[in-house]
């Protein structure tokens, strides 16, 4: 069963907060993973690993570089989930 955008954002924000120590409320759709949230490549891959687990999707490595913002990741996850 697919999650709503809001559910994906909340779940992703929880993962990002856990990895970075940032406040979950600061992890918004328009935030850039690198510029705003200061997430390095290892942390990004950790977040991806947890997100795949949580949402039951596959996020290929070559796709990760296209996920510039939290919103990009939410859209990708939404699209990757079975309808």
């Amino acid at each position: 069963m697919a999650n709503t955008d809001q559910e994906i954002l909340e779940g992703l924000a929880e993962i990002v907060a856990e990895e970075t120590g940032l406040d979950q409320a600061d992890i918004l759709l328009e935030k850039s993973f690198t510029d705003d949230l200061d997430i390095d490549s290892l942390s990004m891959m950790t977040i991806v690993t947890h997100a795949e687990d949580k949402f039951g999707v596959r996020i290929p490595d070559e796709e990760v570089k296209n996920l510039a913002t939290v919103g990009d990741a939410v859209s990708f996850i939404k699209g990757a989930q079975p309808a």
Partner: protein, 414 residues
């Protein structure tokens, strides 16, 4: 008398089975407290582990580190960072050029919990579920690397590996870095986090662990006739070592000097110490010569003494062999009776104890020695701390490791 190459101790930090910092650890040690506890888990039933206790860390690092820190560091690195932060603050958070600051924090085993967790994930869920931080968490230089990141240490980051001598060898290497002019300050110590059923099972298989499951606090009993092996401990200790000149220039408080480093190897057997103690005697002799003292100056020895049948007596025979009649005025302390055996952390916490003993002129007790082994050849501090004499005094910390590694450090009053 202060020379540029003299090395002093200006900061101390620890997190151990006795306490989450130096003050609580030292207080518990002087009071003769055991850090051993029954393990609250199902390892014995699940795996048939013959041992059901260990000297677990007193304060969970999760209480003092941030959530991301505990997620990206193996527990061995977490303990090291907790101890290093305390030591650094204790040294007055010195202003120092990063190129003149080193980090040497050893672990005997490395990130064993990360290795085993990673293996479980791989087998149960496949390679794609493995976490990207697995490699930097499992590598045995990880604690040292995190300590270097913490303070911007760029004079070199090292991790000597010599099993249970690792922590002492780290301190010795740090002394060499300062003496050779490569650094003004080195954050040095040892750490271990191996309380997991696999290492416990492995040590049990080597028949070196105490199996006194019904009385954990009485299990670590170096030199007692009924000793039956060591108690696995965990934790870290870190010392801030500094050139005496640098410390004097910034008006730092000095606990003691580290004046002698002695290293040797047995080349006898992979686990058993050479029964003649040849390598142990050499290490102590080298350290004493390096310090420019004589056995008559040594008033206290923090023994390696793990509470095994063979190891404990070999060491005191070695001390007697080197010291002769001077061994009669040595106050011998076996603090593993209280902390358990911190493996790669042992040489560091015991160096720290030797520094405190010299600084406070108080040798910590050895507990659980109900019936001293008749072959014990050196006066043992039992149950209560013993005052060390006034005037210039020196102590030795001995640390020996599987593989035949022997390290002796001489510590003197400032």
């Amino acid at each position: 008398m202060t020379s540029a190459r003299e090395v002093v101790v200006t900061g101390l930090g620890a997190t151990t089975p006795l306490g989450g910092d130096v003050a609580s650890t030292w207080e518990a040690a002087l009071a003769g407290t055991s850090g051993a506890r029954t393990l609250e888990n199902d390892w014995a039933e699940k795996y048939g582990l013959p041992v059901t206790f260990a000297a677990t860390i007193k304060v969970d690092p999760a209480e003092v580190l941030s959530r991301p820190e505990t997620k990206r560091m193996d527990p061995s690195a977490q303990y090291a960072v907790v101890a290093a932060r305390e030591a650094w603050a204790d040294a007055g958070s010195p202003e120092v050029d990063g190129e003149r600051l080193g980090a040497v924090v050893s672990s005997g085993i490395g990130g064993i919990q990360t290795i085993l967790d990673g293996w479980d994930t791989l087998r149960e869920r496949g390679a794609r579920r493995m976490l990207p931080m697995t490699v930097p968490m499992l590598m045995p230089n990880s604690p040292s690397a995190y300590v270097s990141l913490e303070f911007g240490a760029r004079a070199g980051t090292h991790a000597q590996v010599s099993a249970c001598a690792s922590g002492a060898e780290a301190v010795g290497y740090a002394v060499d870095m300062i003496r050779s002019g490569r650094a003004d300050i080195v954050v040095a110590g040892g750490t271990e986090a191996a309380i997991h059923p696999m290492p416990l099972g492995a040590f049990a298989a080597s028949r070196t662990l105490s199996l006194r499951n019904d009385d954990p606090q009485r299990a670590s009993r170096p030199y007692d006739v009924d000793r039956d092996g060591f108690v696995l401990g965990e934790g870290a200790a870190v010392l801030v070592l500094e050139s005496a000149e640098h410390a004097a220039a910034r008006g730092a408080r000095v606990y003691a000097k580290v004046t002698g480093v002695g290293l040797s190897s047995d080349a006898y057997h992979i686990t058993s110490p050479d029964p003649e103690g040849t390598g142990q005697v050499s290490a102590m002799r080298f350290a004493i010569q390096d310090a420019g003292v004589t056995p008559a100056d040594i008033v206290h020895v923090n023994a390696h003494a793990t509470s095994t049948k063979v190891g404990d007596l070999t060491e005191t025979a070695s001390i007697r062999k080197l010291f002769g009649a001077d061994a009669d005025h040595v106050q011998l302390s076996a603090t593993k009776s209280m902390t358990g055996h911190l493996l790669g952390g042992a040489g560091a916490i015991e160096s720290l104890f030797a520094v405190k003993a010299i600084n406070e002129r108080l040798a910590p007790p050895t507990i659980n020695v109900d019936n001293p082994d008749p072959e014990l050849q050196v006066p043992l501090v039992r149950d209560e701390p013993v005052k060390l004499p006034a005037g210039d005094i020196a102590a030795i910390n001995n640390s020996f490791g599987f593989g035949g590694h022997n390290v002796a450090l001489v510590i003197q009053n400032a």
